[in-house]
């Protein structure tokens, strides 16, 4: 082995589920297996600022991450994990200031201080509006929260990355490499411009802040292009630092980023193929020294089936370890310096991305381009193109639209045993423990802390110190968020779907034409045009499926009502009634389908709308699909049903059969 190997990147696995206790055990066992950093997945109520006993949290507690309602939860999560020695990445955004406060308060309980902490709060709201969906507050208030966290940590937690600008989620929502670069940069600029407005930020501080901004990128299967994308971003970032912010310190100008490799391309069909995809994608962001990631998270082979079990995550961890410790890739200088192929591709990406970035800046920047739906529309369009290419076979996905012939995979013989099932009792237990916490805390102190928080937010002073005090005083996640909700209000980001679909003019395939003719035919039999409601119940932010179903439904000539993500079953039933739809399609990927879909079906029945057929799509394990059908759902679709035109044809069947005279 060569003596001067580079140090490997931080090796992490994104995880958390059920409860603080269960997640703590998982973290400790992952660390024991050689993982070198932690990456916390919170559940959706925590991410959207609700306590576990809030009505909107029903069915979601502990499902896709760990519920953290108060300081005792946080302390339990890191039991026997010394925070001053750990590097922790927290995927938390709208409520980032609060979770960081809990983290700091926990570190203090452990006898440490904020100065010693290393890690990252994701804290990137723009991409929440565009892709990830756990936004709460309007853009202006969100930018304020972000800039206050930046201002606070630069002095009080100087080794903490207060914000991680994410292009990862943009690719997961369909972005091309150029869009990934351009929108991430526009986003970073909107944050830095905002921070710079603060009078206390002088040139020296701005330079340090610039150096603390980190990025979170994606890496897809076209791994050569992805490597060049990373090189292009590195250059563009330094360019922006120099030209826009007058930064000269080379160390500060260096783009620092972590990567999670692409999950959107991981398939339900022949899921073992994903093992290879993941390894190749990891290679793309580690192979070239100049474009090597600082930390890496790999999804698991059963990504499209459901949540990974510890063994599934271990395989991903081992993949990283083989790459880092067995191969020779850490022994060399950059392998591609001087390659004119790499240079040319990088330059092309760079110049196209610069143009797209300029388009957004000319519009008024990232926040404006969120509010007017420009970026979102572009993402939906790109995703529509991608799916059309898969449908037509132009883009080959092995095992999905080509080479489907297969023997039974031994990996999935166990059926629903091949994924992690969160125990249904987790929610109840978490609620009980929350009640116990509320009873044992000093409620006077908690109320005092909440009043102080309210005054501070209204005064415009930095929210961090009072939030840390509130964490210590026993305030809960829901209470902290409630104060801010009352002052800032709430915001729903535009869906971008109407505009994207209007611009999607293209040659319709013969299949699409055939379905159009059927829609016309059924519509004339119905007496009015076939109308579908596409609904997203619960806190689930996965909008891709719903968006693409909506675009395709319109494309085949249906009238489509799509109101965006995060609706309650009641709101969906109300829409269905008001709009007089012929069919309802629910899309749900967060794992809470059993509770929420059944709720919609029952409420429809109670409202006298029981005759409207309901179809469901998303991450629905086979057993659950049967359960949903028993509850009255007509059809269930999962990622293996990649042919959207065919899905439309079946929807026409459903309506047609029901209305046969």
């Amino acid at each position: 082995m060569s003596p001067n190997r580079d140090r490997p990147w931080l090796i992490r696995t994104y995880s958390g589920h059920s409860s603080a206790r269960a997640s703590n055990a998982l973290y400790r066992s992952n660390l024991a297996k050689g993982q070198t950093g932690l990456s916390v997945a919170f559940d959706l109520p925590t991410q959207t600022g609700y306590d576990s006993d809030h009505p909107l949290a029903r069915g979601e507690v502990g499902k896709v991450g760990v519920p953290i309602s108060h300081i005792d939860d946080m302390e339990c999560l890191f039991q026997e994990i010394p925070l001053d020695k750990m590097n922790t990445s927290m995927t938390i955004n709208a409520t980032a200031a609060w979770l960081l406060s809990l983290y700091i308060a926990t570190a203090e309980r452990q006898g440490s201080t904020s100065v010693a902490l290393t890690g990252t709060t994701q804290n990137d709201i723009v991409k929440e509006y565009l892709s990830r969906g756990t936004f709460v507050f309007p853009p202006e208030a969100s930018m304020r929260l972000t800039s206050e966290m930046v201002a606070y940590t630069v002095d009080h937690a100087p080794r903490w990355n207060p914000i991680n600008i994410c292009s990862y989620h943009l690719q997961e929502a369909g972005a091309t490499p150029v869009q990934e670069i351009a929108y991430a940069m526009a986003n970073a600029i909107s944050v830095l411009d905002r921070v710079r407005e603060n009078e206390e930020v002088d040139d020296e501080t701005l330079s340090r802040i610039f150096g603390r901004i980190s990025f979170f990128l994606n890496a897809g299967i076209r791994f050569v292009e992805e490597m060049c994308k990373c090189r292009a971003m590195t250059r563009l970032w330094a360019e922006i630092g120099r030209d826009r912010y007058g930064i000269s310190d080379e160390k500060m100008l260096r783009l620092r980023y972590g990567v999670q490799v692409n999950s959107l391309g991981l398939t339900e069909a022949q899921p073992e193929n994903n093992i290879v995809r993941i390894a190749l994608e990891a290679l793309g962001v580690t192979l070239s020294k100049r474009a090597r990631t600082r930390s890496l998270q790999l999804p698991a082979w059963n990504e499209a089936l459901g949540l990974p079990r510890p063994w599934d995550q271990q395989l991903s961890l081992r993949t990283q370890q083989i790459l880092a410790y067995e191969t020779d890739l850490l022994e060399y200088e950059d392998l591609f310096d001087g390659s004119h192929v790499v240079e040319k591709l990088t330059a092309e990406l760079l110049s196209t991305a610069r143009e797209e970035l300029q388009t957004v800046l000319d519009m008024g920047g990232a926040v404006v381009a969120v509010e007017n739906a420009y970026m979102k529309q572009r993402l939906v369009e790109s995703h529509t193109k991608r799916l059309r290419a898969i449908e037509s076979g132009e883009l080959v996905v092995v095992g999905v639209n080509e080479y489907q012939e297969t023997v039974e995979s031994p990996l999935v013989e166990g059926g629903s045993e091949s994924i992690l099932k969160v125990d249904e009792s987790a929610e109840r237990e978490q609620i009980e423990s929350l009640e116990a916490f509320r009873n044992r805390r000093n409620s006077d102190e908690a109320s005092r802390a909440l009043r102080l928080l309210e005054d501070t937010v209204k005064s415009g002073a930095n929210i961090m110190p009072v939030s840390i005090e509130a964490a210590k005083a026993g305030v809960t996640t829901g209470e902290w968020s409630e104060v801010l909700r009352n002052i800032f209000g709430e915001y729903r980001a535009p869906t971008g779907v109407a505009a994207a679909s209007a611009s999607s003019g293209h040659e319709a395939s013969a299949e699409v034409e055939r379905v159009r003719a059927r829609v016309d035919d059924v519509s004339s039999r119905l007496g009015r045009r076939l109308k579908i409601l596409v609904g997203k119940p619960g806190l689930d932010g996965h909008s891709n499926g719903a968006e693409q179903i909506a675009v395709k439904a319109r494309d085949v000539g249906m009238e489509v009502v799509y109101d965006g993500i995060r609706l309650t079953p009641q709101e969906i039933v109300q829409s269905a009634r008001d709009e007089g739809v012929h069919i309802i399609g629910l899309s749900i990927l967060s794992g809470s389908h059993c509770v929420l879909v059944v709720d919609v079906v029952e409420q429809l029945r109670r409202a006298g709308l029981g005759e409207i057929p309901v179809v469901v799509g998303g991450i629905i394990p086979g057993d659950d699909a049967e359960e949903l059908k028993k509850a009255g759902v007509v059809r269930v679709y999962t990622p293996k049903d990649f042919d959207l035109t065919r899905i439309m044809s079946e929807i026409v069947d459903v309506v047609s059969e029901l209305n046969a005279v």
């Binding site: 209007a502 909506a550 494309d555 109101d563 709009e579 007089g580």
Partner: protein, 331 residues
Amino acid sequence: MQSEPPNDPEHALAAAVTRGDLGSLSEALNQIDDDRPENREAALALLDAIEGHSRSPRIGVTGAPGAGKSTLLDALVAGLRERDRSIGILAVDPSSQRTGGALLGDRMRLSSSARDSGVFLRSLAARDQLGGLSEITGASLDLMQAAFDIVFVETVGVGQSEAGVIDIVDSLIFVAQPASGDLIQFMKAGILEWPDIFFVNKSDLGDAARRTSAELKAGLQLGGRRDPDYTPKVLCGSARDALGIDELLEAIDEHQQYLESSGQGDIRRTSGRAARVRNTLMTRFGRYGLERLTGPFEVETYVGEKSHSSVERLADELGLRIMKELGRDVA
């Protein structure tokens, strides 16, 4: 106004609509949208049964795409719910395409607090006609008016294209983008002619909103208004931040009172009904067909006398008349 309604399904449904039963309203809206000839009579009976039943204000909200109409409606709904009024909203979507498909996505702007039992929102794809409002828009608003304390229709329009909305509403609000143009452009577009209230939106963005209001006010003094006796209000506010909403609600009330006391309200409704019948006949039979109607069958005269029949019924009756005349022409 009406005696005990007869006991047939259309009247039962009409009665449920006027009671404000939202499920029934939805069913009724579906029924009148049904274009199968065999179901036409039921739809007409339904519309006849609710005709003239309600005097609830009918308000149009128009303006360029992106001006903030939907956001403004959301803010208005919040204000009206505080005043305990039930609200119906008809959102007309301009984006339908050749295939007939349409994406009706504006609901996302109605905040969840607004989605209680006192609020109803139906979206309609503006199909059939070139730019104008389809016949079904007016009929849908008629039904909704019977069910709610106040109804709104959101349509996209700039200037002359407002003409169609005018026929189906009492008061028209124009939502203006700040700095959307200088005075000359407003006048060229004919924007100053129709609206009763101007709401210059996005005042949170700075001074442009105030400048735009000043220009509009100046322009209105130049005359050229549909109703020379009423000077439209020009308001300025922010739909996003709910600024100027109380003033807007007041302006709506005030205009409604003016319509009542001046008698303009009745005049507008009668002429609006006639215009709708005329438009429908025009679409179906063209100018040549329309000119076959004479004497007591002249559209305005006929509609004026039959105030208890729905617009759709009258259009069908006169349509039959035209067909007869056309048949005679041929013979």
